[in-house]
C-alpha cells in the first residue's frame, strides 16, 4: 500500500533518514534549512513529524532531560519499515518522472 506524502513530509522523512540516531526536531529543522534553503517554523516541523508518526512512517522516543534544553528531553525520531518503504516508493516515482529526461534540462524553444 502506498502512502501519499506532501513535499514537507517527504523532506522531513529524508531529513530523519539522513540524521539517523540524531534526528530530533531542531536537527531536522537545520537539515531542512541547509538543504532546502527554507526556515520552517518549529511548529511546522513538529506538526509534520507528528503527522508522519500518526501515519506510522516514524516512531519516536524521548531522551533523558538535558540541561541545554532547560531540563526537557529531546524527542528522537526514527524511520519505521513503512517509512522506509514510503521513501523508496517516493524515490521510485521521482526517478520514473526523471527517466528519459536529458541532462541538463533545456527549455523548450520559444
Amino acid at each position: 500500500m502506498s502512502t501519499s506524502l506532501g513535499a514537507l513530509e517527504l523532506a522531513a522523512l529524508l531529513a530523519v533518514a539522513r540524521l539517523g540516531s540524531d534526528a530530533y526536531g531542531l536537527a531536522v529543522r537545520r537539515v531542512l534549512a541547509d538543504r532546502l534553503g527554507r526556515d520552517y517554523s518549529v511548529g511546522a516541523v513538529y506538526t509534520t513529524l507528528q503527522r508522519l508518526e500518526d501515519k506510522g512512517l516514524l516512531r519516536s522516543r524521548a531522551s533523558d532531560p538535558l540541561p541545554v534544553r532547560g531540563g526537557r528531553s529531546r524527542r528522537h525520531f526514527t524511520l519505521t519499515a513503512a517509512g522506509t518503504r514510503a521513501l523508496r516508493e517516493a524515490e521510485r516515482r521521482a526517478a520514473s518522472l526523471w527517466d528519459g529526461l536529458g541532462t541538463p534540462i533545456r527549455p523548450e524553444p520559444a
Partner: protein
C-alpha cells in the same frame, strides 16, 4: 506562557515538551551568539509563526470540548493582542509642535493664553511646562505661566517655548469697559433668527468691534441661539445674556405668537399681528381692560415706523420702542401710516401686544 497555550490548544504533553525544548535549545545558542535581546525577539517570532500550525494540528485531533477550549484560548490571545495594540497606539509621544492662534482679550482681568502642545502624530499633550515671555508689547504684561493682563488697547506678540520648541502668539488687547444690551428683545415665533443688538464700549467711549465672548439664553424651550443670532420657538418670556471680557449685558426676550387679530388676547399672552397699511390709512383694534406693553414696528428697517396710538387707556413710553398702557375698560389701539410726501405708497409691519397677567 507558551506551555500553557500549548496545553490549552490540546497538545500532547510530550509534543509540547519537544517543541519547548527545541525552542529553549536554539534560544541558548542564539543568546550565546547574538545576545539575549536578539534571542528573545527570535523566540517571540518563532512562537508566533508556529501558532497557526499548532492550531491546525490541534483542530484535527480535538473533540468538540477541545475545540471550544481552543476557541476560548484563541479569543483570549486575540483580545490580549488587541488591548496591547490599543495601549500602544494610545501612548503619546514627546512634544513636537506648539500651536496657538491669535488671542483677543476684552477684559482687564488676567487671561491664560490657550496653547496646544501636540506630539508627532498630532495628539494633544498637557500644556504644563510651556513658558511665556513678552517679545513686543507697549500695552500688556504676561506671566511666565502665560497669564496676560491688558492695560490698554493695542497688539502684542508673546513668545511661548517648551524645551527646544517655540512659537509666537499674537495678542490683541481690546478692553471693554461697558456693554450695552437692548434691554428688551422682541421675537416672533416662526420668524428667521435675528441679531442680538448690543454695543461694547472701550475706556475712550468708542465702540469696540473686535470681541470674543459668549451668549447665553435662559430658556431654550422659548428661544435658542444660531451662532450669534437668536430664534424664537415658543411664546413666552426668557432672557439673553451677552458676556464679553469682564462685562455682561442682560436683556429680557419676549416671544410673540403670530395672529390675525389681538382682540381676544388673554392675560400673560404675547401676540404679533401683521399690519399692512397704505399711505394715510389707520387700523384699529379693541382690547379688553388690562395692563399692556405695545409696540408697532416695520417689517424692514428701511421702512418708516408706523404710528401707534391708544384711546381709553393711560399710557407711558417704556424705553424708546414700547408703550406701557393700563385700561380700566376696553381700549382702542390704532396703528397709522402717516402721510408724507416722500413715503412709499404702502408699508407692512407688526403690532406686538403683550398683555400682562392680571394682578
Amino acid at each position: 506562557m507558551i506551555e500553557r497555550l500549548l496545553e490549552s490548544l490540546g497538545a500532547d504533553p510530550s509534543f509540547a515538551e519537544s517543541i519547548l525544548g527545541d525552542l529553549a535549545e536554539e534560544y541558548a545558542v542564539r543568546a550565546a551568539g547574538n545576545g539575549v535581546i536578539v534571542a528573545r525577539w527570535w523566540y517571540a517570532y518563532e512562537a508566533l509563526r508556529s501558532a497557526p500550525h499548532l492550531v491546525r494540528s490541534a483542530l484535527r485531533c480535538l473533540g468538540p470540548r477541545g475545540v471550544a477550549r481552543l476557541a476560548a484560548s484563541l479569543a483570549g490571545v486575540v483580545l490580549a493582542s488587541v488591548l496591547a495594540l490599543l495601549a500602544l497606539s494610545a501612548r503619546k509621544g514627546p512634544p513636537e509642535r506648539l500651536v496657538a492662534s491669535t488671542v483677543v482679550v476684552n477684559g482687564h482681568r488676567p487671561v491664560r493664553l490657550p496653547m496646544r502642545v501636540l506630539d508627532a502624530a498630532g495628539r494633544v499633550l498637557p500644556d504644563t511646562g510651556v513658558r511665556y515671555a513678552l517679545a513686543v508689547s507697549p500695552t500688556m504684561s504676561v506671566s511666565p505661566a502665560g497669564e496676560v493682563t491688558c492695560a490698554r488697547p493695542g497688539d502684542a506678540i508673546v513668545r511661548a517655548s517648551l524645551g527646544p520648541l517655540a512659537t509666537h502668539v499674537h495678542v490683541r488687547c481690546r478692553p471693554v469697559v461697558d456693554l450695552l444690551g437692548p434691554g428688551m428683545l422682541d421675537l416672533i415665533v416662526g420668524a428667521p433668527a435675528q441679531d442680538i443688538p448690543f454695543e461694547a464700549l472701550g475706556s475712550d467711549g468708542r465702540a469696540v468691534t473686535l470681541l470674543v465672548g459668549r451668549i447665553k439664553v435662559g430658556d431654550s424651550a422659548i428661544a435658542t441661539l444660531e451662532g450669534p443670532r437668536i430664534r424664537a420657538h415658543a411664546e413666552g418670556v426668557t432672557s439673553v445674556q451677552v458676556l464679553v471680557g469682564d462685562q455682561d449685558a442682560f436683556s429680557s426676550v419676549h416671544a410673540y405668537t403670530p395672529t390675525d387679530s389681538p382682540e381676544a388676547v388673554r392675560p400673560d399672552q404675547h401676540l404679533a399681528v401683521p399690519v399692512r397699511l397704505t399711505l394715510g390709512e389707520t387700523r384699529e383694534w379693541r382690547l379688553p381692560a388690562g395692563l399692556y406693553f405695545l409696540r408697532a414696528l416695520p417689517d424692514h428697517g428701511n421702512q418708516p415706523r408706523p404710528r401707534l396710538a391708544v384711546v381709553g387707556a393711560s399710557c407711558t413710553p417704556f424705553g424708546v420702542t414700547h408703550l406701557e398702557c393700563f385700561a380700566r375698560a376696553d381700549m382702542s389701539v390704532l396703528v397709522r401710516y402717516p402721510r408724507r410726501t416722500d413715503a412709499a405708497p404702502e408699508m407692512s409691519g407688526t403690532l406686538l401686544v403683550w398683555r400682562l397677567p392680571d394682578p
